[in-house]
């Protein structure tokens, strides 16, 4: 909880800092960006409400064993590819993504596969892309970014295979 608090402090500290800079440019600048930020907020809230409140249900119906079963140490590149798909398909927030990674590691998953899973989850967990990235960013950018990111879980797994265990 203290880490979350620290992040909140940093976050609002940054808002305050840039707000102060904007204010020193003149109150009209400050007011305009304040209004713009608030409008963004109002527009985004319904989508986030749906996503956050709905994500629990989506997560509840996808059994974790299905995901972890595919990531064994002998699964090789096929396992890595599976891990990438599984990472992208994992619903829910960071708790679920990392928990599945831990379970996979503890239940005998291979390290490169788990690394590929965590990296793929970080890069393209579908729920985060749909819920956060698409509402905030131009759609063209989002698809482009996802396409460009595809090789990187594999690169991470390859590095993990070369340098070995943590």
């Amino acid at each position: 909880m203290s880490a979350a608090l620290l992040i909140d402090i940093l976050l609002w500290g940054s808002v305050f800092g840039v707000g102060l800079i904007a204010f020193r440019r003149g109150p009209p600048v400050f007011k305009a960006s304040l209004r713009e930020g608030s409008m963004d907020f109002i527009n985004i809230v319904p989508r986030i409400a749906l996503g956050v409140i709905g994500s629990g249900y989506i997560a509840a119906i996808i059994p974790q064993e299905v995901i972890t079963g595919w990531l064994g140490p002998d699964s090789g590149w096929l396992g890595v590819a599976t891990a990438v798909v599984a990472g992208a398909a994992t619903p829910g927030g960071p708790v679920i993504g990392f928990s599945i990674g831990t379970v996979a590691l503890k239940s005998g998953g291979g390290v490169p596969q788990v690394v590929a899973y965590v990296v793929a989850w970080a890069l393209f967990a579908f729920q985060r892309v749909i819920l956060w990235e698409i509402p905030f960013m131009p759609a063209r950018f989002v698809w482009f970014r996802c396409a460009v990111s595809v090789p990187f879980p594999f690169v991470a797994a390859a590095i993990a295979m070369v340098i070995g265990k943590p």
């Binding site: 880490a3 992040i7 909140d8 940093l10 976050l11 500290g13 940054s14 808002v15 840039v18 707000g19 800079i21 904007a22 440019r25 600048v29 305009a32 960006s33 304040l34 930020g37 608030s38 963004d40 907020f41 809230v45 986030i48 749906l50 956050v52 409140i53 709905g54 994500s55 629990g56 249900y57 989506i58 509840a60 119906i61 960071p94 708790v95 990392f98 990674g101 831990t102 965590v118 970080a122 890069l123 985060r128 749909i130 819920l131 956060w132 509402p135 960013m137 131009p138 950018f141 482009f144 970014r145 396409a147 460009v148 990111s149 090789p151 990187f152 690169v155 991470a156 993990a160 943590p166």
Partner: protein
């Protein structure tokens, strides 16, 4: 589309766990929602302020299509130090795009935030996956934002040659 997905999932949970199961998840998610709302507001304000105060011509010089490796490194560093979650990263990334950063630098920023940003690592990955795995995973991920940004830039100028030349003329 998401609404349909959510409705179907909720119906399945209801069939399996009954009304209690549905309500459990609802209360949990509602409290989660309440918790992140202020952060969403902070993220939106941060994005709006940043797009207002950043000098456009400086951004397009240091993060634009011609910024080279330096632009990608700046994007990476920016993504790594950015506080907050998706509610901050995406509004800020969007603001950067709006004030003249190119796709490559913005991709570097988003990928850097997602892979080596300390916010998620400290709050979630460290406690759940352990210090060894987290640090090791971050070390493996270090070069990736720059590579992703470079790849993005490389592909972008080939898919969309027009916007790139327009930027060159500016």
């Amino acid at each position: 589309m998401i609404a349909v997905l959510v409705a179907v999932s909720a119906a399945l949970v209801w069939r399996r766990d009954g009304t209690g199961g549905v309500l459990d998840i609802l209360t949990h998610d509602l409290s989660l929602f309440g918790g992140i709302l202020p952060r969403v507001l902070a993220g939106c304000l941060l994005g709006a302020f940043i797009s207002e105060i950043l000098p456009h011509e400086r951004v397009s010089r240091s993060l634009g299509p011609k910024s080279g490796l330096k632009g990608l490194l700046i994007g990476t560093a920016f993504g790594a130090i950015l506080p907050g979650g998706p509610f901050t990263a995406y509004p800020v990334a969007s603001a950067l795009l709006a004030v003249g950063a190119d796709f490559g630098a913005t991709i570097a920023m988003v990928v850097s935030w997602t892979l080596i940003g300390y916010g998620r690592a400290v709050a979630w990955e460290l406690p759940i996956m352990g210090t060894d795995f987290t640090l090791w995973r971050i070390v493996i991920s270090l070069p990736q934002p720059v590579l992703a940004g470079a790849l993005g830039r490389f592909v972008y100028v080939r898919i969309y040659p027009k916007p790139a030349t327009k930027d060159d003329e500016n």
